[in-house]
């Protein structure tokens, strides 16, 4: 499994001008394995952080290490990082460009210099994960619905089989069913490929359901980093940071007030129901 390490990273926009913004401060993180969620208020630095992972942004100071190698030491490493960490930007549906869905998904793997057969295999597999149905492959991506376009853009990145699939708010603006659909596909990709996934999201409920680890950012810094149970048990701090916990976590706290203690690590409805059930059987 590959690993990306951020070492003492700072990122400053428009350095030395009156518009200077210190977007990331002293970031130290080791990323790799499982599905990692990043939450934080608007402007906390999430998008800047994910753009460091694939070499789209260069740190103002500090290092980005890909499997121990300094990314910015050699230009070819930066180029390779584009494929090793595949970034699905916010609202990626506006970046589709090819004349057919197939061509759009094939663009990345073709750029990697793969054989036509391998490109074809990758495109079909990626389409399956991203739930792009085979019968839209020859259609223009611009004729598709918003949700379908989003999935085509996702397939285009998955087709590069990146060691890190990095998604900036992949489900924003989608209805709950489409959210489940797209996040379910991402989880499946994680499971079958063994590659790491990093998701930025404002939905605490989605993060609780899909992530193994959560990183909390505020004002350019990493404030918390731990399992869902660890992070969501600090609800007051999260609310103070302009964030929240899933509603079911609030319900579990309220239950505790009523004398029904099902634990502080409750953050999905399924788990809450299970714990309630065993609470009742014990009682």
């Amino acid at each position: 499994m590959s690993e990306i390490v951020l070492k003492d990273v700072n990122y400053i926009y428009n350095k030395g001008t009156p518009y200077e913004v210190h977007a990331l401060r002293d970031i130290n993180l080791t990323l790799g394995g499982g599905i990692i969620g990043i939450i934080g208020h608007t402007g906390s630095g999430k998008s800047t952080l994910v753009q460091l992972l694939n070499g789209l942004a260069k740190p103002s100071s500090g290092k980005v290490l890909f499997d121990g190698e300094d990314l910015w030491e050699k230009p070819e490493r930066v180029r390779a990082a584009r494929f090793r960490a595949g970034l699905v930007m916010q609202y990626p549906e506006y970046q589709l460009f090819a004349s057919t869905v197939y061509e759009d998904i094939a663009f990345g793997p073709r750029n990697m210099g793969l054989s036509a057969d391998e490109v074809d295999r990758r495109v079909r597999l990626a389409a399956e994960f991203a739930k792009v149905s085979p019968d839209v492959m020859e259609r223009s991506p611009f004729d598709l619905s918003g949700g379908q376009k989003r999935r085509v853009a996702l397939a285009g990145v998955i087709a590069m089989n990146p060691e890190f699939l990095v998604l900036d708010e992949p489900a924003a603006g989608l209805d709950p069913g489409s959210r489940r659909f797209i996040l379910g596909g991402i989880k499946e990709y994680r499971k079958k490929s063994g590659n790491s996934v990093i998701i930025v999201s404002h939905s605490m409920e989605d993060m609780a359901s899909y992530c193994d680890r959560i990183i909390v950012m505020a004002n350019g810094r990493v404030i918390m980093d731990g399992s869902c149970a660890e992070v969501f048990s600090r609800s007051l701090e999260l609310i103070g940071l302009g964030l929240d916990v899933p509603q079911v976590t609030h319900i579990a706290s309220a239950l505790r007030e009523c004398g029904i203690d099902i634990g502080r690590d409750v953050y999905t409805v399924g788990y809450a129901a299970e714990k309630l059930d065993s609470f009742c059987k014990k009682a």
Binding site: T42, D143, D175, G177, H202, L243, D244, I251, G259, C280
Partner: protein, 292 residues
């Protein structure tokens, strides 16, 4: 009670061009929105919510059927330009993307923009802008640049612009979709304040079920039709139906629903954490009581 909006058998089709086919976005949609009420509209992507919103704001001409805005019929041959102008004055809209709604470089000028277009005297505009900024809690940013605000703050500035025009009814088309949790909380509080304190009729289009649970009434669209309609208690009482329509229920309802399926005697129509916990605790007590 008088109705702000009445819609009867409304259908709407986007006409195709070239080789793209016609798209029927609304089919026989009927509902009413009482004055001063808070209505939520739910529906999967492409179910027709935004089309409906633009018809109600008179940005899109209704197809067939009837649309009545504050007692005036807006469909038929005899609708005048004044009628349409008046309807547009009374019904306003706040959109999804906070960045696309900003027109000026100073917050108070942005809020004043709509009023200036209405030809309102500047002394009156001054008063309205200050009052509107107070309502949304953004008065202290009056002279700031809107571009430096957070998403939630930008949306509250957009809302202030609509309030300053003295709209009687405001439609929010997924206005919380791009916001972080705090931005969403602030905008929801502002919307509820407008509704409760100022009597503004609110129509909220959203994918967040917890936001919808705060409305007086929910209308669910599915493929351009009204799938179901009622109070949050009524609509959320059938989670399976909503899941099938690509929607969801609040987590409180989902948890209660699971308890019910496990044989507990619980109501489903409770949407706040404390109420939900109290209901579960009551049901557990009751079952224990039976056992002894």
């Amino acid at each position: 009670m008088k109705n702000a909006i009445e819609v009867k058998d409304l259908s709407f089709t986007y006409e195709g061009y070239g080789d793209s086919p016609d798209v029927t976005a609304l089919r026989d949609v009927s509902f009413t929105v009482p004055e001063g009420s808070f209505t939520a509209i739910l529906g999967h992507n492409g179910s027709g919510k935004s089309t409906l919103a633009s018809i109600l704001c008179m940005l899109e001409e209704p197809g067939s059927g009837e649309v009545i805005i504050y007692g005036k019929r807006m469909t038929g041959e005899d609708v005048t330009d004044e009628d349409i102008f008046e309807a547009r004055r009374r019904v306003g809209m706040v959109f999804q993307n906070p960045d696309n709604q900003i027109v000026a470089t100073v917050v108070e000028e942005d809020v004043a923009f709509g009023c200036e277009n209405l030809g309102i005297p500047s002394a009156e505009i001054r008063k309205r802008v200050d009052a509107a900024l107070d309502t949304v809690g953004m008065r202290k940013y009056a002279r700031h640049s809107p571009h430096k605000l957070s998403g939630g703050q930008k949306q509250r500035v957009a809302i202030a612009g609509v309030i300053a025009m003295k709209r009687d009814c405001i439609i929010f088309d997924e206005s919380t979709a791009m916001l972080d949790p705090l931005g969403r909380r602030d905008v929801m509080e502002t919307i509820e304040k407008l509704n409760h304190e100022d009597g503004v009729t609110v129509i909220l289009i959203t994918h967040y079920m917890e936001e919808a649970s705060r409305a007086d009434k929910i209308i669910v669209l599915d493929g351009g039709r009204v799938l179901t309609e009622g109070t949050p208690a009524e609509v959320f009482s059938d989670p399976e139906k909503l899941w099938e329509a690509s929607l969801d229920v609040p987590q409180s309802t989902e948890l209660l629903y699971r308890m019910k399926k496990a044989g507990y005697d619980v109501r489903l129509d409770i949407f706040d954490a404390e109420g939900c916990a109290a209901e579960i605790s009551r049901a557990i007590e009751k079952r224990r009581g039976k056992r002894v």
